[in-house]
């Protein structure tokens, strides 16, 4: 029963929001390779949404493109989510390993990514007055992903409903703390770097003179 290949697992999980992740856990399906692919797809989807939409829907002028925010919104947020969730749920008797949290969470993101690409395709044939189609696609994608993500966390840690809600709220707080610390460390290290660099130039200057 349920001897699915990896692509079949993806399909099964996405189209069975309530049972899928339990099955995945029971059969130890899912692989980190797919997580990498999905996060890469998310990164591309975010860029595509801002850059490849039909011109009538393009929110940003070409001159203002920077890749850093897109890396932030895909890779960094995802890593912070996984780390935060693992940190919180280890304390809350969660059964999920870091690897499983990453796999399950990434699988849950698929509808969100698909809705973004759908919007990009639609934007080439629709005009602004028909924006309601975008909203529809957007809400379907976001609700679907929310549902999947919730059940992913619930399944991976074998939590009850209320405990999952609490875990997600705490995870969001943990993410904030992680990101805050990351920014803090970044600026600190920058200062240290600048200090050593000026020391280096100073010494070089003395040596030369």
């Amino acid at each position: 029963m349920m001897d699915l290949t990896q692509p079949q697992w993806v399909k099964h999980v996405v189209f069975h929001p309530f049972e899928g992740f339990e099955d995945l856990r029971w059969k130890k399906g899912g692989t980190l390779k797919y997580t990498a692919v999905i996060i890469a797809a998310l990164f591309i989807a975010l860029i595509a949404f801002d850059r490849w939409c039909g011109f009538q829907f393009r929110p940003l002028p070409d001159a203002m493109f920077s890749v850093v925010p897109y890396i932030m919104r895909s890779v960094i947020y995802f890593l912070a989510w996984v780390l935060g969730n693992w940190a919180v749920c280890t304390l809350l008797d969660g059964e999920g390993t870091m690897k499983n949290i990453a796999i399950y969470s990434s699988y849950a993101l698929i509808p969100y990514i698909v809705q973004m690409f759908t919007q990009v395709v639609l934007s080439h044939v629709l005009v602004r007055a028909e924006g309601v189609f975008f909203d529809t696609v957007y809400y379907i994608g976001i609700i679907w992903t929310a549902l999947l993500l919730f059940n992913a966390i619930k399944a991976v840690h074998q939590y009850t409903f209320t405990k999952t809600v609490a875990a997600i709220v705490l995870t969001l707080c943990a993410m904030l703390i992680i990101l805050f610390l990351a920014v803090l460390f970044l600026s600190l290290f920058q200062k240290v770097y600048v200090f050593f660099y000026s020391l280096y130039t100073e010494i070089l200057y003395r040596v030369r003179v």
């Binding site: 011109f55 009538q56 002028p61 005009v127 602004r128």
Partner: protein, 520 residues
């Protein structure tokens, strides 16, 4: 950020230096009658608010001093006015006189320094600040500042009426009455800008009776003002008296569009960004109120040695074609807008050359000609009037703008294309061409130019039409295509199922055969 934009603009200037240089050379050879290069980099703003190199719409031709006109040097001249007959009136404040100068601005026609009062006595001006000539009656209105009066007189210098401090309950009697600028509307009402009230210009009837105040600026909605409003709502009468009141900044110059009857005011105060330029109708309502926080002049103020150099609009002039010309005292620049307040050209700078002005000391700007062919800037510091002449580029832009603003989009196509040939950075040309093609039904081209102008709203409009056009032309193909695709999917499915079934059958068959022990 501000510095970044500044340096960015400069770098861009450097990068496109070769292109601009060659363009400028061609421009100066082709367009100029006789003039040197302007002593500043000509720029305009793109839709992101970045300064980009641009073609010059006006070039400084000459600068005229009092000595050039055959009289003594001007002493801190305060105002310059052009009447309906294209004659100029220059208020030479420090010499207490007004000069009437001919249309070519090279000959003095008359010098007014003494006026005859109605009772026959002679009177002299004392530091006059402003002058206005009524287009209907030809009467001369003079803001005689230090005599605390305004004079209305005939062209020959005989005074018809003298307006002094009104004895009205509306006018606070503790205030002085020192007229700065003056004008009159088509109905003969007289408006006087005073420097001691924030209530607007003092308004007098044609008979000289005080009517009230006109066209005050709005109070900028800063956090302090909103907080004040809140506290005042709950404060008692006693407390209210000791609370600070929110007052608007006063406008200090104005001009009237004599054709339409709108009065345009300008505010030079550096402490506000609200209502810098207003377009006030006879009722006193500001028609530019929807853009009361529009940034007039330079979009970014420069910081240098702890001082902020912010645009300070000291005079405004409405050209005969409706263009709005603003004079910035800080940078010595004239900002020319069309009647929809879209920036057309920027010219002038601070310095000593022709086309450069004393910083903070320019007094007035005037325009002449049906297409604003000349711009005159009065420099109070140098005591000169600088004459700017329109380039070919400038006149094409004016033609195109006039047609475009009048709704003649298709007629404006040719001039706009010509503008683009001369300056590919001129964004309004892309918008104009996009509109023209849209009206001509060339939606694909309209989309292309809207995209170049980064105007996604226009692109959307053109795309909608283009889409329905496309659908109408390709409906049959589209329907056949859809039917074919659906049929293809069904056939493929059917085929795959049969393959699968066959595979199952052949998979099962050998089992039976091996059981049977026979192999084919």
């Amino acid at each position: 950020m501000r510095n970044y934009v500044k340096t960015n603009a400069r770098r861009r200037l450097m990068q496109s230096a070769a292109a601009v240089l060659s363009l400028l050379c061609t421009a100066s050879v082709l367009m100029l009658p006789a003039s040197a290069d302007e002593p500043y980099d000509v720029y305009n703003y793109n839709y992101l608010g970045e300064a980009v190199p641009s073609q010059a719409g006006y070039l400084a031709e000459r600068s005229v001093s009092g000595l050039d006109l055959g009289t003594t040097a001007f002493n801190a001249p305060g105002d310059l006015f052009k009447d309906e007959k294209d004659q100029f009136y220059l208020v030479d404040s420090g010499n207490n006189r007004i000069l009437r100068i001919n249309s070519e601005f090279d000959e003095i026609l008359q010098i007014y320094d003494t006026f005859t009062m109605p009772d026959g006595s002679q009177t002299k001006l004392k530091n006059p600040k402003g002058v206005f000539i009524s287009p209907d009656t030809g009467l001369m209105y003079i803001a005689d500042n230090e005599n605390a009066r305004a004079l209305v007189c005939e062209q020959d210098g005989s005074v018809v009426m003298e307006i002094t401090k009104p004895e009205s309950a509306v006018y606070d009697q503790q205030l002085t009455f020192l007229p700065q600028k003056i004008l009159c509307d088509n109905a003969g009402n007289i408006y006087i800008v005073l420097n001691n009230t924030t209530k607007g210009a003092a308004m007098f009837g044609a008979d000289g009776s005080f009517i009230g105040y006109y066209g005050a600026n709005a109070v900028a909605a800063t956090a302090t003002v909103i907080a004040n409003h809140f506290w005042n709502a709950i404060a008692s009468e006693e407390e209210k008296r000791y609370r600070s009141r929110s007052t608007p900044t006063a406008f200090d110059n104005f001009d009237i569009d004599t054709v339409k009857g709108f009065i345009y005011t300008s505010t030079s105060s550096g402490s506000t960004d609200t209502d810098i330029v207003k377009k006030v109708n006879p009722e006193g309502y500001n028609l530019f109120s929807y853009m009361s926080n529009y940034t007039w002049g330079d979009l970014f103020s420069t910081w240098y040695s702890g001082t902020s150099y912010k645009t300070k609009i000291v005079d405004i002039d409405i050209g005969d074609d409706g263009s709005i010309n603003c004079l910035d005292a800080t940078t010595g620049r004239v900002f020319q807008y069309d009647k929809e307040a879209d920036l057309l050209f920027i010219m002038g700078t601070t310095g000593d050359q022709v086309g450069a002005f004393t910083q903070g000391n320019v007094a007035a700007v005037e325009t002449k000609g049906a297409g604003c062919e000349n711009i005159y800037v009065l420099d109070a510091g140098k005591g000169t009037v600088t004459v700017f002449g329109q380039t070919v580029f400038g006149s094409i832009v004016h033609d195109a703008t006039k047609l475009y603003n009048g709704g003649y989009y298709e007629e404006a196509l040719e001039p706009w294309l010509e503008v683009l040939k001369r300056d590919g950075n001129y964004r309004r040309a892309y918008l104009g061409i996009s509109s023209a093609y849209y009206n001509m039904g060339r939606y694909k081209d309209s989309m292309e130019y809207a995209k170049k102008a980064d105007a996604s709203g226009r692109y959307n409009r053109a795309f909608e039409r283009y889409r329905s056009q496309w659908l109408r032309q390709h409906l049959t193909q589209l329907l056949i295509g859809i039917v074919l695709i659906i049929a293809g999917i069904y056939i493929l499915k059917f085929y795959l199922r049969r393959q699968q079934k066959k595979a199952l059958d052949t998979a099962k068959a050998p089992e039976h055969q091996t059981e049977g022990g026979t192999a084919s």
